[in-house]
C-alpha cells in the first residue's frame, strides 16, 4: 500500500504571502477556486492503493485546518491526518520525527510533497518510473527544466542521462550547475529514514561539541535538500523523473494567480464542472446567479484567468481579468480589476480601478519560471500584483495601482506603488 506526506509548513513560513496569510494559512489559500492543498490531495487520492495522507507542519490546530481536513476526508474517502511538529523541523526533520506513523501499516513507498507547489502531480508515472530504474528501493525526485538563469533559484539536479540517476545535487547554487530543477515532490520508501537518521546522529554529536546558540539549531532540524539529497547524489540511490507537465512554485500572491491559470487550463480536462460555462476564458464562478447577469444591459466581462469565490456580488459593466476574487467581495458597477487579489468581504466602488503588474514568466520561453521578486528594489516598491486584504473598502472612482492594502482598511483616495498599513 502507499501513503503520501504533504509538508505544509507553519506561520513563520510563507511570509511572502502576507497579508493574505493573516486570514488563512497559506496552504489553504484558494488557487483556482479550491484550497491550495486540495489539488495535492485530489492527486494523491487518485493513485491506486493510496491508503493515507499525512499533513506535517507546525501550524497550531485551527478551525479552518480542522474543517478542511474533515471535509476532505469525507469527499475523498481516505484517511487524512495532521501531524503537528513541536517546532519547525525542516523538510526532513518533520518526516523523520513522525517516521513511526509513516511506516505503520508497512507501506512499500510514500510520496512527499511540498504544499506550496502547483503541479499536474504525475504520481503514477513516478511509481512506474521507480520500478524501471535503479534498485528496488531507490528514491525518486520529480524534476523539470528551467532556463539557465532561473535554475539557480532552485535545487539543481545533475542527471546521468542514460540511467537517470542523480549524480550531483546543489540547492540554490550561486553559479550555474544544471537546468534540471527540483519540483519539491518525491517518492520515498522506508529506507530513507536510515539516511535521515544518520544525519540526525551526526547533528547530535556536532551539537555536543558546540555551545547551543539560540535554540534555532536543533539536532532534529534537517533539510531534505541540503542535508540528504546532496549526500545521496551519486550513490546509486537517488533518481530523477523529469516531467514536461506544468509546474510552478507558489511563494507570493502573484504566483498564486499564475498557478490559478495553470490549474484552470487543466480544468477543461479534469474538472470542467468548475469552469463557468457561459463565459469565455474559463473563469471559475460559484455562488453567483448567472441568470441575473443576462438581465443586465451591461453584463460584466470576466476572464481570462479569473477565480471568483462564493457570495461575491458583481455589478453591471464590471471588468475582471487575471485576478482572484475571494468570498463575499463586492465589485460595484463599471469597476475594473486587473492582476489583483481582492480579499474576503472587500468592496470595490463604482468606476474604481484596482490594478497590479503581473510577474508572469516569459511566455516565449517554455522553461521560464515565475520570478520571486524582492518586495523593494532601489528603494522603491517593485510593481507587482495588487493585493487587498480582507474587509478592505475601495471608494468609487479611484485608482489603486501596484499596491498592497492591509486588512480592514477603508481607503479614501487613490494610491500607487504603496503598502497601505
Amino acid at each position: 500500500m502507499l501513503k503520501a506526506v504533504i509538508l505544509i509548513g507553519g506561520p513563520q513560513k510563507g511570509t511572502r504571502f502576507r497579508p493574505l496569510s493573516f486570514e488563512v494559512p497559506k496552504p489553504l489559500f484558494p488557487v483556482a477556486g479550491v484550497p491550495m492543498l486540495q489539488h495535492h490531495i485530489e492527486a494523491c487520492a487518485k493513485v491506486p492503493n493510496m491508503k493515507e495522507i499525512l499533513l506535517v507542519g507546525f501550524y497550531q490546530p485551527n478551525e479552518e485546518l480542522t474543517r478542511f481536513l474533515s471535509n476532505a476526508q469525507q469527499e475523498f474517502k481516505i484517511s487524512i491526518r495532521y501531524l503537528q511538529e513541536y517546532a519547525a523541523l525542516g523538510t526532513g526533520g518533520g518526516i523523520y520525527h513522525f517516521r513511526d506513523q509513516i511506516v505503520s501499516g508497512s507501506p512499500e513507498a510514500f510520496f512527499v510533497l511540498n504544499a506550496d507547489v502547483c503541479s499536474e502531480f504525475p504520481l503514477p508515472e513516478m511509481l512506474s518510473f521507480q520500478k524501471e530504474h535503479g534498485e528496488p528501493n531507490s528514491f525518486v525526485i520529480l524534476g523539470t527544466t528551467a532556463n539557465r538563469k532561473q535554475s539557480m533559484n532552485y535545487g539543481c539536479i545533475v542527471e546521468n542521462e542514460e540511467t537517470s540517476e542523480v549524480m550531483h545535487y546543489v540547492e540554490k547554487p550561486s553559479t550555474f550547475v544544471s537546468d534540471i530543477i527540483n519540483c519539491g515532490i518525491y517518492l520515498f520508501n522506508p529506507d530513507i529514514f536510515q539516511h535521515i537518521g544518520a544525519v540526525f546522529q551526526k547533528n547530535q554529536q556536532d551539537m555536543l561539541l558546540e555551545e547551543p546558540t539560540n535554540g534555532w539549531h536543533r539536532a532534529e532540524a534537517i533539510r531534505l535538500e541540503q542535508d540528504i539529497f546532496t549526500a545521496l547524489a551519486g550513490q546509486g540511490k537517488l533518481y530523477v523523473y523529469k516531467t514536461l507537465s506544468f509546474w510552478s512554485q507558489i511563494k507570493s500572491a502573484g504566483s498564486a494567480i499564475y498557478a490559478s491559470r495553470l490549474y484552470l487550463n487543466q480544468y477543461h480536462k479534469t474538472h470542467p464542472e468548475r469552469l463557468a460555462s457561459n463565459k469565455e476564458g474559463g473563469p471559475k464562478i460559484s455562488g453567483i446567479c448567472a441568470q441575473r447577469w443576462s438581465a443586465l444591459s451591461s453584463p460584466p466581462q470576466l476572464g481570462p484567468n479569473v477565480s471568483i469565490g462564493t457570495g461575491v456580488t458583481i455589478g453591471a459593466g464590471v471588468r475582471v481579468r487575471e485576478s482572484i476574487i475571494l468570498h463575499g467581495a463586492t465589485l460595484q458597477d463599471h469597476s475594473c480589476v486587473l492582476n489583483c487579489i481582492v480579499g474576503w468581504d472587500s468592496t470595490i466602488g463604482k468606476w474604481a480601478r484596482v490594478e497590479g503588474t503581473p510577474s508572469d514568466p516569459n511566455p516565449n520561453d517554455p522553461y521560464a519560471k515565475i520570478d520571486s521578486e524582492t518586495l523593494f528594489r532601489d528603494g522603491k516598491l517593485t510593481p507587482s500584483i495588487t493585493i487587498l486584504g480582507c474587509n478592505v473598502t475601495i471608494p468609487s472612482e479611484v485608482i489603486i495601482l501596484n499596491s498592497i492594502v492591509l486588512p480592514h482598511k477603508d481607503l479614501n483616495r487613490s494610491f500607487k506603488n504603496q503598502i497601505i498599513l
Partner: protein
Amino acid sequence: MDEDDDDDDDDDDDDDDDDDEDDEDGLTCDLVSPQLGIRISLSHEREPLGTAGPLALARELLTVDNEPFFVLNSDVICDFPFQEMLLFHQNHKKEGTIVVTRVEEPSKYGVVVFETDGGRIHRFVEKPQVFVSNKINAGMYIFNPSMLSRIQLRPTSIEKEIFPVMAEEGQLYAMELQGFWMDIGQPKDFLTGMCMYLQSLRQQAPERLRMGPGFLGNVLVDPTAQIGENCTIGPNVTIGAGVVLEDGVRIKRCTVLKGARVRSHSWLESCIVGWSSSVGQWVRMENVTVLGEDVIVNDELYLNGANVLPHKSINDSVPEPRIIM
C-alpha cells in the same frame, strides 16, 4: 454682441466665400458672415511679426475710418465686456486702453502699475521678483488708429516696445476686468478656463446647460451628441458635435471634441479628447491627459497625464505623465 464661443465650435466655415487672390502683403480672405452679420477679413503674416507688427500689416483694414479698434489675444477666455471697454476708452479720450485682470500669482506674468483713480498707466514690470501689483495685462486692448504710426512693419513686441512709450506719454489707460479670466494656452489652464466659462454660462444662460439624471453641475452638450445609459457626466464637461458616449461612462472636468467616441465603462477626469479620437472600454484617463486628433486608446488602459500626438494608437498604459509622439 457676445457671440457663440463654445469650446467645441470650430467650424465657422459654412459661410459664403468670396474668392480672393493671395495678396503679397497679407490680405488673403474677405467675406461677410450671414450668421453673425459682420465682415471677416484675414490678414496673413508671411513671417511672424510679433505682437505689434501684425497691426501694422493690417493698417489698411484698421484705418477705414477714424474709429478705435479692439485688439484681442485669441488664447484668452473671459466675458468680453466690449461695451464697457468702449465706454471706458471714450471717457478718458487718450490713445489706448488695456484691460487688466487680477491674478493670484502675478510674477508669472507682466504686471501693470496704474492709478486706481482714472486708470492712467505708469509702467509695466515683467515677472516681478517682489510684489508690485497683482494686476496683469489681460490681453485685450482698444486703440485709436493714430497709434499705428508707432508701429513699424517688422517683428515687434507691443508689450516691450510700444506700450512703455505710450505709458510714458500718458496715452495708455487700464480698465479692470470684473468677471472671470483665464489664459488658456496650456491644456491645464484650458480646462480651468472651461470651468470658469461654464460657471458664467450658468449665470447668464442656464438653459444652454444640460440638466437631469446623470448630469452633475455645469455640463454643455451638443445636440448631435449621443449619450448612453447609466452615464454620469459632469461637473464641468463640454461635449462636442457627433460625440458618442457609450453606457456607463463617467466624465468629469473634460472637453470632448467633435466626433470623438468614449466606449463603455470608462472613467475620465481633467482630459481633453481630440477630434475623432476613440477611447476604449474600461479606460481610465486623468491628470490633464490630452489626446490629439484621431487618437485610439485601447481597452482597459490607464493614462495619467499622457500627451498624445495625433493619429497615434495607444496599446500600453501610461502610469506617469509623459508625451507620446
